[in-house]
């Protein structure tokens, strides 16, 4: 424990004013805004800017002002003392002070080293000549822009990501550019040979020249004293008025090493981002975590978050390394690579190659998991492949379709059909909120967005149905290059906590938490009473884990589930009474007609789920409407069992093999009132013609002559998913037990707002078969637990009409 008295703030000093360090400060300010007096030293004379976007600045697509992430005002608003253009040269660990080159000394309680990296300069003669620079900061870009207006010949040494982006920028500025590369092909750390050849070809078509397998011997001094040519070890030479060295970066550990901190290709840090001196943290390109110093922004931001968590003394977060991916920020070139793209050893390759069409795709598999990918020319599915790779998902069941991408998995829906890079700015990305590509790109650049969540918040794209999330991730990565922060595989529930959905569920179960305040207290929620994202999730986890015991908190439910009707855009509600298995009778229809007259219902509509929907009901009228209908709630408004759709079946149909209508009625009567992580739809068809469309329902039952087939995990919404065959059973009782057990596993284990299909994709069909088919006792227990949970639920409409529950909801104060 720190012994600092509470009235005195601790002192935090940060050395380095770059993206990783400042992100750590931002995260810290969110967690503990008043814990530290913060002082920042930056060697560059600028506030924190987006280093990733130096390439577009060089190419003339953006200005320096566009890429500033934290203007000077940000530092003063947050009471951060900023010293720009000051270099820290010494850390006195005994007295806990840093010292600058001009003799200034500042004490610290915690020190954050974010010194980044230095470009590697080839140790050749002439490397110090005027006109020889690296590509690292704004000063370098200024030097390149200036050179491009005066000189003709540019040579870029290094055919990696940075070198090619520099070459592209200089070419756009009108220079003749040659790229010198020691390797046999370009970007050998990110691409295999076939992909690199395609890349080289298309860059050559743009006018770039390549000198491969050339080793630099000397940079030649011209008459003016400036560099004028480059000489190679094989005796060749080329004219050069500007030489850009982009042969790699080295973690900047000079300061750390001189102060005795353990360094090994970077400042060595633990999973808590602490160096060997626990008062000193390090994040960013200077830090070596488990032997890796990362050079891309996504891992650095993860590190920043972890460091902030510990600096704020929360002490629960760990950094466990990152899987990174690469994209080249050269307009018109689609390229992506991630993981072990080279293959070899125990791996298997799937390759699609069309050199003339300019498309090359290679997927590397090991033990039925995707371990690497290298895509050129068509990167539509890069976000999906990267997700499969990070999650380590078993792809055995989709292996034969893997190469053809996500949209070829038998799904429809527009996700990923469009090619982000090829889209024009006016093309619509988010169909729900009408957001175009240009709006998203503009927000990413101007507001400094890095993650899908950022884009959702600022533009509303992908914030409704989410089917364009993949496309938005593509736009992020094509705008920012490989440096964007891909959505982590496992996410916290919301901004109120670090905990994931699964951790929250486990805590509620293992510690028998029975209310939302108890859960928040136990799990150290950061906000006093959560938010509109976490509260509904917590409420569902509580009531599904402890039915009859946990408190169902109406104020933590979305309006529809609190009011038991569906809110519409004008603030009125729609009412859908339950019609068991899609059946009704004259008396019910008469009552519905009377209600429509009495309350002047402006619209009556037959739903897709074989029921009747009354629109335009005022909230105050709801209890009256329910009383007059005298029918049970259809739960058409809830994350709950909606409808059991049926075909007429063997009672009337000449093809019917089973009485599907009765089966539907039985299922609906057994499972109605069931809350779930998301809405749940059933359907029962009486023969394989499947008129009830059972193949796109969460649970679909198809009658055959010898019994019933049960299908699970179908979805007719956002992305059509065909249900998978689970089992064939003989009797109606078995249909109830097996489908009930399946739905209970989903209720107990899926994350809130997972549809069955999303949950199944994560846990796999084998797991579901194990729980529902192979373990008979387990199946029966699951079914019993479901029946018990349902036994404590009441018809919400009847409760409100007869028992006056939640009366206040429906009364207005008139004054």
């Amino acid at each position: 424990m720190d012994m600092t008295p509470p009235d005195k703030k601790m002192k935090l000093v940060m050395v380095g004013n770059g993206m990783a360090g400042v992100r750590a400060l931002e995260e810290l300010l969110k967690l503990a805004p008043d814990m530290y007096d913060v002082t920042v030293f930056g060697a560059e004379p600028h506030p924190n800017y987006n280093r990733i976007l130096l390439s577009p600045v060089l190419a003339g697509e953006q200005t320096v002002d566009d890429i500033v992430l934290n203007p000077l005002d940000w530092y003063s608003e947050n009471n951060i003392t900023l010293h720009v253009g000051k270099k820290v040269v010494k850390i006195d660990r005994t007295h806990r002070e840093v010292e600058t080159s001009d003799g200034m000394r500042v004490g610290y309680d915690r020190l954050l080293l974010a010194t980044g990296s230095n470009p590697f300069i080839l140790p050749v003669q002439g490397a110090d000549l005027p006109g020889v620079i690296s590509f690292r900061d704004i000063a370098d870009v200024d030097a390149m822009v200036q050179a491009s207006s005066q000189y003709q010949h540019a040579v870029v040494i290094g055919g990696g990501l940075l070198g090619l982006e520099a070459a592209n920028g200089l070419m756009k500025r009108g220079m003749q550019v040659s790229v010198v590369h020691i390797g046999p092909w370009l970007m050998e750390r990110q691409l295999d040979e076939p992909a690199a050849r395609l890349l080289q070809k298309s860059l050559e078509e743009k006018g770039m020249k390549f000198l491969l397998q050339k080793q630099t011997a000397e940079l030649v001094r011209g008459e003016s004293g400036r560099v004028c040519a480059i000489k190679f070890k094989d005796g060749d030479s080329a004219p050069a008025d500007l030489v850009v060295m982009a042969v790699g970066i080295r973690p900047n550990t000079e300061l750390a090493e001189s102060s005795g901190l353990h360094c090994n290709r970077g400042v060595v840090v633990s999973d808590t981002m602490q160096t060997f001196d626990p008062r000193i943290y390090s994040v960013g390109e200077c830090a070596a975590h488990r032997g890796i110093a990362y050079g891309l922004v996504a891992p650095l931001f993860e590190q920043a978050k972890v460091a902030a968590n510990h600096l704020a003394q929360h002490g629960i977060s760990r950094y466990q390394g990152s899987v990174t991916s690469t994209k080249l920020k050269v307009t018109g070139i689609d390229l992506f690579s991630a993981g072990n793209f080279g293959g070899g050893g125990q791996t298997e390759d799937i390759v699609l190659s069309d050199p003339v069409g300019g498309v090359y795709k290679k997927l590397v598999l090991q033990d039925n998991k995707l371990v690497g990918a290298c895509l050129y020319g068509d990167t539509v599915d890069s976000a999906w492949y990267f997700q499969l790779l990070r999650e380590g998902r078993n792809i055995a069941d989709i292996r034969d379709h893997l190469m053809f991408g996500q949209s070829n998995l038998g799904d429809s829906g527009h996700a990923g059909q469009n090619k982000a890079a090829a889209m024009t700015d006016e093309m619509e990305v988010c169909g729900c909120n009408g957001v175009c590509k240009g709006t998203i790109v503009k927000a990413i650049k101007e507001k400094g967005l890095f993650t899908l969540d950022d884009v959702k918040k600022h533009t509303k794209a992908a914030s409704s149905c989410g089917s364009c999330s993949g496309l938005v991730e593509q736009i992020l990565s094509s705008t920012l290059g490989g440096d964007y922060s891909a959505t982590p595989a496992v996410k916290p529930v919301c901004g109120c906590t670090e905990r994931t959905h699964d951790e929250v569920r486990a805590a509620i179960r293992d510690h028998k938490l029975l209310s939302i305040p108890d859960t928040m207290k136990f799990l150290e929620w950061r906000t006093p009473d959560g938010c509109a994202t976490c509260r509904p999730a917590l409420n569902y986890y509580l009531i599904s884990t402890w039915p009859g015991e946990a408190r169902d908190d109406a104020q933590s439910r979305f309006v529809n589930e609190r009011v038991h009707a569906n809110i519409q855009k004008d603030g009125t509600y729609s009412v859908v009474p339950r019609m068991w298995g899609g059946t009704t009778n004259a008396s019910e229809l008469r009552r519905i007609a009377d209600v429509a007259d009495k309350y002047a219902v402006p619209m009556i509509r037959v739903t897709g789920g074989q029921r009747i929907d009354l629109f335009g009901i005022k909230k105050e009228d709801l209890p009256g409407v329910w009383a007059d209908l005298d029918m049970p709630s259809g739960h058409a408004y809830g994350k709950a069992l909606r409808t059991v759709k049926t075909c007429i079946g063997s009672e009337f149909c000449r093809f019917g093999t089973q009485n599907s209508t009765q089966m539907g009625i039985d299922l609906e009567k057994a499972f109605w009132k069931m809350w779930a992580p998301h809405k749940v739809k059933f359907a029962v068809s009486g023969c394989p013609r499947n008129c009830a469309e059972a193949a796109i329902k969460d649970v679909g039952i198809i009658g055959v002559d010898s019994g019933w087939e049960i299908y699970v995990g179908g979805n007719g919404g956002i992305k059509t998913e065909v249900a998978e065959f689970l089992v064939k059973v003989k009797t109606a009782e078995e249909v109830l037990e097996y489908s009930g057990a399946f739905i209970q596993v989903y209720r107990e284990e899926a994350r809130y707002l997972d549809r069955t299909v999303h949950w199944m994709q994560r846990v796999g069909m084998d797991y579901i078969k194990k729980r529902v088919l192979e373990d008979e006792a387990g199946r029966k227990a699951l079914y019993q637990r479901l029946l018990y949970a349902l036994s404590v639920e009441k018809d919400p409409w009847a409760e409100r009409v007869k028992d006056g529950v939640a009366k206040h909801e429906f009364e207005v104060f008139s004054v």
Binding site: K457, D529, V559, I567, G571, V812, F813, S814, V815
Partner: protein, 102 residues
């Protein structure tokens, strides 16, 4: 001339919830948060006119039920990055009774 109008006992307002006060054909949402703070504003989200009284209340904000915009009770402003503002009304609790100034 604005006057304090007596509305109802505080106990009639759900914690982390709201009631609607109808005045002169206009709906005003009166919120009560978890700390028993009481706030009033027009029952109309600046985004697309959603009834804010029906939103989830957390801390000093309400989340509009239609599209999820967050509105702060203190000044009626939408939380960043959203933009927009709702008119607020003075409200007070005296001896357990809520009064509204319209």
């Amino acid at each position: 001339m604005s006057n304090w109008i007596k509305i109802a006992p505080l106990s009639e307002f759900p914690q982390q919830g709201a009631r609607v006060v109808r005045h002169d054909g206009k709906d005003i949402a009166v919120f009560r948060n978890a700390g028993d703070g009481v706030f009033a504003m027009n029952d109309k989200c600046p985004h697309k006119g959603g009834p804010l009284s029906q939103g989830i209340v957390s801390g000093n904000t309400v989340t509009c039920p239609l599209h999820g915009m967050n509105i702060c009770f203190d000044d009626g402003k939408a939380l960043a990055p959203d933009e927009g503002c709702v008119g607020t009304y003075p409200v007070k609790v005296e001896e357990g009774v809520v009064f509204l100034q319209i």
